[in-house]
């Protein structure tokens, strides 16, 4: 770990959580979804388009364009631009990049947006060209997507730590319960544990309700100075601490932990807080086993004890450990790279008191974690942020 102290994020805030309602399939392109997110951010902030002088983009289906082409498409002339291809870690990583840019004065207001379309063949095309290692060493083995990779590490996790399908099911059921209060969630029907357990197997031990549903959608938020937020009269969220890590623990034969385990002490120390102070947690939940790893690796319970932790808590909005309060990707849908923003945007909602029917009674300190990019056999990018309700 670096001996030099890290700067805090004083005076930099996050606000204006925006979700463009998801659709199972879309005939539009990613540009449409990203453009709508940016439009919502600009209109919602009361700023002029030219006042948004920084943009950070994440998308899988924007090709052949990058963030650069998108700027011409949207008629933007930012003086700061980033493109973050980190899938489920994009929301946290975009914040890290944008916050430092605002802090340093390289930009005044940065729009962080993530979005993807989902045309009928989009998912198949995305996974077949996802990475070189996947092309060479995973795709020829039949998976045609991340199901098999996650099935293997779920199998390993269950064997080694004694987690059961009932444990995974409890999380999925609780998330669905939360999702029923979220108008953006694509899943509108309640889910029972019996239904979860009776679902068909997709790739043992992964069953239907362990999988997210690919869809189209976009998410976004703004990063600006606290002074600017106050001037605009926008409720805001402070940034207490953030971490990111890539390709953590390459010596592990199979993924049973993520990069959070390397950095969580730094995360809490930098924030001057601990897991017991966190009011709610938004994780990246493409499969329930990854939720379990995040409970452990972010210090909410010891390694291997997530199953016990799951048995002790309810995970619903009114429960003992509010978790994935939007319903998560498992119940809202996975809108490509926007899936990496979903938890982040929901956390900003909770901390700005704009979460509607999903609003928690107590939401002062929230944690968001991200996880992305199954490049070969494991997810490579991890990140987390501790956010705090700002006073307006």
């Amino acid at each position: 770990m670096s001996a030099r102290p890290r700067l805090g994020y004083d005076g930099v805030v996050v606000n204006l959580p925006v979700t463009i309602p998801y659709a199972r399939y879309s005939t539009h392109s990613a540009h449409w979804w990203l453009g709508r997110a940016l439009g919502e951010l600009i209109r919602g902030s009361g700023l002029a388009k030219r006042d948004v002088d920084g943009v950070c983009v994440s998308s899988f289906t924007l090709g052949p364009d990058t963030a650069v082409g998108l700027m011409q498409h949207l008629g933007m002339s930012p003086r700061w631009l980033d493109h973050i291809p980190m899938g489920g870690a994009s929301g946290v990583v975009a914040l890290r990049r944008a916050a430092r840019a605002v802090q340093a004065g390289d930009a005044e207001v940065i729009a962080c947006i993530a979005g993807d379309t989902n045309q009928v063949d989009s998912f198949r095309n995305t996974v077949s060209q996802f990475s070189r290692f996947a092309q060479d060493a995973v795709y020829p083995y039949g998976a045609g997507g991340p199901n098999a990779s996650f099935a293997l590490l779920t199998d390993y996790y269950m064997q080694h730590y004694g987690a059961t399908r009932e444990d995974f099911g409890k999380l999925c059921v609780a998330q669905r319960d939360n999702a029923l209060k979220n108008p953006h969630a694509l899943m509108k029907k309640p889910l029972t544990l019996a239904q979860y357990l009776a679902a068909r197997s997709i790739t043992d031990p992964i069953h239907l309700f362990d999988c997210v549903m690919p869809c189209a959608g976009a998410e976004g938020y703004l990063v600006m100075t606290e002074d600017r937020a106050r001037a605009l009269k926008l409720p805001f969220t402070r940034i207490r601490s953030t971490i990111e890590r890539h390709n953590a623990f390459p010596e592990d034969p199979i993924q049973f932990r993520g990069g959070w385990a390397m950095d969580k002490d730094d995360l809490y120390a930098h924030a001057g807080t601990g897991p017991e102070e966190i009011d709610f947690l938004e994780t990246y939940d493409d499969y329930p086993v990854i939720n379990m790893m995040q409970f452990e690796d972010l210090g909410f319970c010891a390694k291997g004890e997530a199953a016990t932790f799951v048995r002790e808590h309810s995970f619903t909005l009114d429960g003992s450990f509010p978790f994935n309060t939007s319903g998560g990707q498992l119940s809202v849908g996975q809108a490509g790279a926007a899936g990496g923003y979903l938890g982040f945007v929901q956390a900003v909602r909770q901390l700005t008191g704009t979460a509607g029917a999903t609003q928690l009674a107590k939401a002062r300190l929230g944690m968001v974690s991200g996880f992305g990019m199954i490049n070969y056999d494991r997810g490579l990018c991890s990140g987390a942020a501790i956010l705090e309700r700002g006073q307006v």
Binding site: Y139, G142, S149, Q159, I206, P253, I254
Partner: protein, 417 residues
């Protein structure tokens, strides 16, 4: 344990023939190193010349020390199976038609962690043997096999997707009257072939071994002269829809060493005759039988699976003493590689056999070692069961192959002496 493969039922003529689909075949250029090893049945991964780290998936630079000196080397193929899954769903057409499909994570003793197809006889955890085999796309894939062979293990459906086992298949042996043709036909019957169509290019000539063979009820004699387009077409019209495996044993070698070069003669009669059989014969067969095999490349458990060419190591390095014939072998190899590319789209494999000199009448004056036709036939059966596509048979072929890699100029100079 794997159940023995059931005898395929007679084809229902009313049912549509299922067309071939292929597993994903795209690979990076580095990953084609795996394909090179699998094509010859070797197990090789990249090893860093500087720090000895074994790499997987294939890389451009060492994942440990960043050296660019990565050499393909044979490495320990054992490992521990640490996780398995059975796919019951796939977005890929090929796998979708073949579910359920078992894959797993193997921690290799040599270091890397690999995702592999897992044989049904492997326990859920424990030691496995990894092999590199070509799949129907023609690219290498890893199969995890039980540490020890199990009964009928080659009959497992997943493994059969990488092999071309003759079991229950119908085989056309194009020249059944040559010593090679007879040896191949016998080996195919011993390997469980359902039927052998035994080509007869010379109905006027009696060959005792041929007459003995055709007494077997599984053997059907057929007239076939590969130099005669009508003869080839007639046979294809008759049995083209039933050939699952084709072994081209038609071969032309005449003259004694030293008489067959280029300057040793004042005509090209020998050269033309060699080309007529060895090259144009192959092309005629390909044009007549290729389309039918392509169409039947996924037609049940005994679908069309492989095309075997018996060439010579001198297809790669000419023997000037038999220069015209060597030229015909080189041309035949070139045609075979085109055929391989043309059949690749359906997964029918072209297997090229490169033997050294064979112990037959026109090699009488060639000094030993010479290969018996039975040894070549055995190598063919092994190649089909193991799923390789390039086979160098015998000491001479293996030596020339190795020396071509070392210094092809040395081979050129020395064969000319």
């Amino acid at each position: 344990m794997t159940a023995p493969l059931a005898t395929p039922k007679k084809k229902n003529p009313v049912q549509r023939t299922r067309l071939a689909t292929l597993p994903p075949g795209a690979r990076s250029r580095s990953a084609l190193g795996l394909t090179r090893a699998a094509a010859e049945g070797r197990f090789e991964l990249q090893v860093c010349a500087d720090c000895a780290t074994v790499q997987y998936p294939p890389r451009e630079v060492c994942g440990h020390c960043l050296s660019e000196q990565l050499d393909w080397q044979t490495v320990d193929n054992h490992g521990e199976l640490i996780a398995t899954t059975t796919l019951r769903h796939s977005n890929d057409l090929y796998f979708r038609e073949r579910l359920p499909w078992r894959v797993g994570t193997v921690k290799m003793a040599a270091g890397p962690v690999v995702v592999a197809h897992v044989h049904e006889d492997c326990a859920a955890s424990g030691t496995v043997r990894l092999t590199l085999k070509l799949d129907r796309s023609g690219q290498a894939v890893l199969h995890a096999l039980p540490e020890q062979d199990t009964p009928n293990m080659n009959d497992a459906a997943q493994l059969r997707e990488s092999t071309c086992d003759p079991k229950h298949r119908r085989v056309l042996v194009t020249d059944g009257k040559s010593a090679m043709g007879i040896a191949v036909a016998r080996a195919m019957l011993d390997a469980g072939a359902a039927a052998v169509f035994l080509g007869d290019p010379t109905p006027w000539k009696t060959v005792a071994a041929y007459d003995t063979l055709i007494e077997d009820e599984r053997v059907q004699p057929v007239d076939l002269d590969v130099t005669d387009t009508d003869s080839v077409d007639r046979l294809a019209a008759s049995i083209g829809g039933k050939v699952d495996l084709l072994v081209n044993t038609a071969s032309y070698l005449r003259g004694n060493p030293g008489e067959g070069g280029i300057l040793g003669r004042k005509d090209v009669i020998l050269a033309r005759d060699a080309m007529e059989v060895n090259v144009l014969g192959l092309m005629r067969l390909a044009q007549a039988f290729g389309p039918g095999m392509r169409f039947r490349a996924a037609d049940g458990t005994n679908h069309a699976v492989a095309w075997v060419n018996i060439l010579s190591i001198h297809a790669l390095a000419p023997l000037p003493a038999r220069g015209a014939w060597s030229a015909s072998m080189a041309a035949a190899l070139s045609a075979a590689l085109t055929l391989r590319a043309e059949l690749a789209g359906t997964g029918v494999r072209v297997v090229n056999i490169f033997p050294g000199p064979i112990d037959e009448e026109w090699e009488q004056l060639t000094p030993p070692p010479k290969l018996s036709p039975a040894a070549v036939a055995k190598a063919i059966i092994h190649a089909l069961k193991d799923g390789v596509e390039d086979v160098y048979v015998g000491d001479i072929a293996e030596e020339i192959r190795a020396r071509l890699r070392e210094n092809h100029k040395a081979v050129e100079r020395e064969l000319g002496q």
